[in-house]
């Protein structure tokens, strides 16, 4: 059964999909959104790109009388193909959240008090521009730091570069994927990006290390995962917790937390020792095999068994399963990987294992991106900052890339004033008090600022510390730069354009950045008047017409996802040697282990449990707890305790406890879930709850914040990534 929408309204798209050079008809000079249905109601169907999380699925909004009544999956989108997760389907819950920020707000009380007065946009922008001019004069432009996240802030990034500061840092690096990108880049010459190009659907064996697919939901990834399993892929789930994925696994390895590198080394030991690795692939593409062979010789399953708390037999059996399934082994690289501070080395171990299995660039393994053309703006040169980055990217953290930065490095600099004082933060689309650990340090940094500006949709706690709050339009109300995704089997360009007018006085990020540019005399860096013109410039080399793209939502191109699709000369790797580097000279030059090594991490002290955390399928980070649709499905989180642990602590299912960490930090009361499905040395919570902002009327005080309990981090010396699995908690009576 196919949908009417598919056949009728996206016919134009269908015709262009698959064409290498796409020339869409130029006739569509105005927005035309053919009608469709929602329930039994006639509606307009308007395509855009979701932002309930950052996977960027294609969606179609049903609009009736200017009101968005439904958001559903875009049937022709090459990623989600009409499918959409619970959060995506609940998009109207964000759009019509009555607690949204409605007007610009200027602080009147003390920082943290949350007392503001409403001001007009002109007042707000004049105030901010005035402050920025003054800061530049008194402290230099480098004293201003941007904390961006997501698709929207590219306009702010341009603005800040034009203003003259090099300081910008996203939590998606040092609190999430950074060490992974670096570890894989050191090995293969490129990272993975997002969406991760893991060929789950074609795999014969899927290996998850802490990745809890199913609870962590990205629509197309779940589709590929379930499809792979249905086609007979075996599954190894390495997780201290009996996750949704573990329940589907052929092998659940409830590993002792912090010992993954030992397991990975033992797997390599078996694959090499038993000759199960992909010899031809390694000989063709890789370098350093002999050193690796020598390196892993001592790391037998028997060596790893007591470290990992797994049996040598299980380790050997799973290694052999990988050897049998190679190269179609989808070893998922993970996404949030900042766990223990040696995360770059763990990523290296995973990358090396991927190489031994011959999975990189192979069907059922990790597929390759296909470049697609994109236009750029002819901008004047950005001013060269007089002082280098303050966050240590490229210096203190030698492998942190400058374009992403190190959030905690910026916080350190703000607290210490070294290498120079940071006087202002502009926070866009990230929640510095929930996404970055060591909250008290973040608050200490905020206390040193002359200016804190928050651009956000919801009144999350950090606004209470802001001098100026700017209400942004939601993803359904705004234009963002087009979503150009090359790491897909069919690469594509998709739009995010408004499906309705912005509510209240909220404004899109592009407008805010541009208005500031006007006031700062930086309009040369914004050589476009409207989002439509912006889109046209980026699309220019593709031949795609912007209006047409806005009408159909997405255009896909044919991809070359596998090495076999490419000529031999196009199969090189962007490393120093041009080969896959099993032995990393880059790391050796930095004085780091050129091949990964297991180092023990502190175990929980007596009477404490390791705090581990993860995701629920109905929530995104700390962003969705106030969405009434999603809140109804999961209003609060629970702490998972093993049956015997609950007994020891004298707590029972359904009771509320407070989690206290080894530094004495205490959480909100949280419900206890007593389960056999977790190791005895861990306590697990879903991230994102325990909101402290009273203005989030549904989410306030519900559940406990894992982030608040992260008073300790173990910082990765290579990337600055903050290992966050290093905090210990115990349940105490609420």
């Amino acid at each position: 059964m196919t949908s009417e929408i598919t056949r009728r309204r996206f016919l134009g798209t269908t015709a262009t999909l698959g064409a290498a050079t796409v020339v869409a008809p130029a006739a569509a000079s105005q927005k035309v959104h053919p009608p469709g249905w929602r329930g039994t109601e006639r509606v307009d169907k308007v395509p855009t790109t979701c932002e309930m999380c950052f996977w960027r699925c294609g969606v179609v909004a049903s609009v009736a009388g200017g009101k968005v009544v439904r958001v559903a999956g875009h049937p022709e989108h090459p990623q989600n193909q009409g499918r959409l997760c619970a959060r995506g389907n609940a998009g109207t819950g964000l759009l019509y959240d009555p607690d949204r920020l409605k007007t610009p707000l200027l602080r009147t009380g003390e920082r943290g008090e949350g007392r503001f007065k409403r001001v007009s946009w002109d007042e707000a922008l004049d105030f901010l521009a005035g402050k920025l001019v003054k800061l530049r004069q008194e402290h230099g432009p480098e004293s201003v730091a941007l904390f961006p996240h997501g698709n929207g802030p590219r306009f702010f990034a341009t603005l800040m570069q034009a203003y003259g500061t090099p300081n910008s840092a996203e939590p998606s690096f040092a609190q999430c994927r950074g060490p992974r990108e670096v570890g894989y880049s050191l090995t293969f010459g490129r990272g993975l990006g997002s969406p991760e190009p893991v060929d789950l659907e074609e795999a014969r064996l899927i290996v998850l290390i802490g990745s809890h697919l199913g609870e962590n939901v990205f629509t197309s990834q779940i589709t590929a995962f379930a499809t792979g399993l249905a086609h007979g892929a075996k599954l190894i789930a390495v997780d201290p917790r009996f996750s949704t994925a573990a329940a589907k696994a052929d092998w659940w390895l409830p590993i002792r937390p912090g010992t993954d590198i030992a397991l990975l080394l033992a797997w390599m030991n078996v694959l090499i020792g038993e000759g199960l690795y992909d010899r031809e692939y390694v000989e063709t593409y890789a370098k350093g095999f002999e050193q690796l062979q020598e390196h892993v010789k001592e790391f037998t399953p028997e060596w790893a068994a007591p470290i990992t708390d797994l049996t040598a037999a299980k380790i050997r059996e799973t290694a052999r399963a990988m050897g049998a399934a190679k190269p179609a082994v989808a070893l998922h690289p993970g996404r949030h990987v900042t766990w223990y501070g040696d995360d770059t080395q763990r990523a290296r171990a995973m990358a090396i294992l991927t190489a031994l299995l011959g999975s990189w660039g192979r069907r059922g393994g990790i597929f390759l991106p296909t470049p697609i053309p994109k236009g750029s703006f002819d901008l004047p040169e950005f001013p060269e900052p007089k002082r280098g980055r303050a966050d240590g990217a490229g210096t203190r953290f030698p492998l942190a890339p400058e374009e992403l930065g190190v959030t905690n490095g910026l916080i350190d600099a703000t607290v210490s004033g070294n290498p120079y004082p940071i006087k202002a933060w502009i926070v866009y689309g990230q929640n510095v008090l929930e996404s970055i650990p060591q909250r008290s340090r973040t608050l200490e940094a905020i206390g040193k600022l002359d200016l804190m500006v928050v651009v956000d949709v919801l009144p999350v706690e950090q606004i209470n510390y802001a001098d100026l709050v700017l209400p942004e339009a939601t993803y359904l109300e705004r234009y963002d730069p087009p979503n150009i995704v090359e790491s897909a089997k069919r690469p594509f360009i998709a739009v995010r354009s408004p499906v309705c007018e912005p509510l209240y006085e909220s404004k899109p990020g592009w407008w805010i950045a541009r208005e500031l540019a006007k006031r700062l005399d930086l309009m040369a860096y914004f050589p476009w008047e409207t989002p439509e013109q912006h889109l046209e410039t980026i699309l220019a080399p593709t031949g795609i017409n912007g209006n047409e793209l806005r009408n159909c939502g997405v255009v896909a191109f044919p991809g070359k996802p596998y090495l076999d699709d490419r000529a031999p000369q196009d199969r090189s790797f962007d490393t120093a040697s041009g080969k896959i580097e099993l032995f990393s000279q880059d790391l050796a030059d930095l004085g780091a282990d050129p091949m990964p090594r297991y180092t023990p991490h502190a175990e929980p002290p007596a009477g404490f449990l390791r705090l581990i955390y993860g995701r629920a399928p109905v929530h995104s980070f700390a962003r969705s707890q106030n969405n009434k649709i999603l809140n109804a499905l999961m209003p609060e989180n629970e702490v998972w305790l093993h049956t015997s642990v609950a007994r020891e602590f004298g707590v029972a299912e359904g009771q509320r406890v407070i989690l206290e960490n080894s530094d004495g930090v205490r959480s909100n009361p949280i419900l206890v879930k007593v389960t056999e499905g977790i190791r005895r040395d861990c306590a697990y919570v879903v991230h994102g709850f325990g909101h402290r902002s009273r203005a989030l009327r549904l989410a306030f005080g519900r559940g406990a914040s894992d982030n608040a309990l992260m008073s300790r981090v173990s910082v990765d010396p290579l990337t600055g990534g903050t290992g966050m699995h290093v905090n210990f908690v115990r349940p105490v009576k609420a």
């Binding site: 059964m1 196919t2 949908s3 009417e4 929408i5 249905w37 929602r38 329930g39 039994t40 439904r70 958001v71 559903a72 999956g73 009409g82 499918r83 959409l84 997760c85 619970a86 959060r87 995506g88 389907n89 609940a90 109207t92 697919l213 199913g214 609870e215 939901v217 629509t219 779940i222 589709t223 995962f225 379930a226 499809t227 399993l229 249905a230 009996f242 949704t244 994925a245 573990a246 329940a247 589907k248 659940w252 409830p254 399928p617 109905v618 009434k628 649709i629 999603l630 109804a632 499905l633 093993h642 049956t643 389960t675 056999e676 499905g677 977790i678 190791r679």
Partner: protein
């Protein structure tokens, strides 16, 4: 005539609840209610030898729907296509059908005070679209179609692959939502979420014995009146035609 059925593959399902939210968004289901529920069985076994399964519940459009008979107003009925429907104009919100349903698939809307439940997205399927839950399912774990279509996927999954009905010896009403899963997985689901046995149909039974004659009396009288009017009209009409 079609005989619609749904198959949910619990090996693929990850319990993401996209179906619940899509359904609610499509049909304006009040917050806090749902036409399709996603649950998980309790864990079976001891660490580390464990088993659990998701379970997706909705109206089963049973061959012998126990919800129809207890309905005093005739609002709940089964169409020729097997879809069990509720006529909102007729429903009096008494809730007897809610109690009668072995699968807890019905709820009384706090907004309309009438019973609501899954109707396999009948308006959508009439337009040639899939039900909203099937269309959004991230795991592609749901299949919908006509059991009698021998070339259809649902027919194949039910009659050739062996998708199972969740019914017990005590409650065997012919549900038309089928499940795929490992046998021990489906056993666990059935043991965890068994259809409610017939003794819970007491509300309906009580109604049959006591209230039904009364309601039939009232409804019947109304019907009789309408019938008289109809035949009178018919007779008059014929008379008109004759002229």
């Amino acid at each position: 005539m079609a005989r619609y059925a749904m198959v949910t593959d619990l090996r693929k399902c990850v319990a993401c609840k996209a179906c619940t939210v899509a359904c609610s968004a499509e049909w304006d289901v009040p917050t806090g209610q749902a036409r399709t529920h996603v649950r998980a069985t309790p864990l079976a076994g001891e660490f580390p030898d464990l088993m659990s399964s998701p379970y997706v519940a909705q109206c089963n459009h049973c061959d012998h729907p126990p919800c129809v008979e207890p309905c005093p107003s005739g609002a709940t009925f089964q169409g020729d296509d097997g879809i069990v429907r509720v006529d909102g104009d007729v429903c009096i919100g008494c809730g007897f059908c809610v109690d009668a349903c072995p699968y807890e698939a019905r709820y009384i809307s706090p907004r309309t005070k009438k019973v609501d439940k899954c109707d396999f997205c009948r308006p959508r399927i009439e337009r040639g679209e899939e039900p909203a839950c099937v269309a959004t399912c991230t795991a592609h774990a749901k299949y919908f179609g006509d059991l009698e279509d021998r070339n259809g996927e649902v027919h194949r999954l039910v009659f050739h692959v062996g998708a199972r009905r969740l019914e017990t010896a005590a409650v065997a009403v012919g549900p038309n939502v089928y499940y795929l899963g490992r046998p021990e997985q489906l056993d666990l689901v059935l043991a965890s979420f068994p259809p409610r046995p017939p003794q819970l149909l007491t509300a309906g039974e009580a109604w049959k014995k006591l209230a039904r004659p009364l309601v039939i009396g009232v409804v019947g009288a109304t019907f009789l009146g309408q019938a008289v009017a109809f035949f009178t009209q018919l007779h008059k009409g014929e008379g008109d035609f004759d002229e």
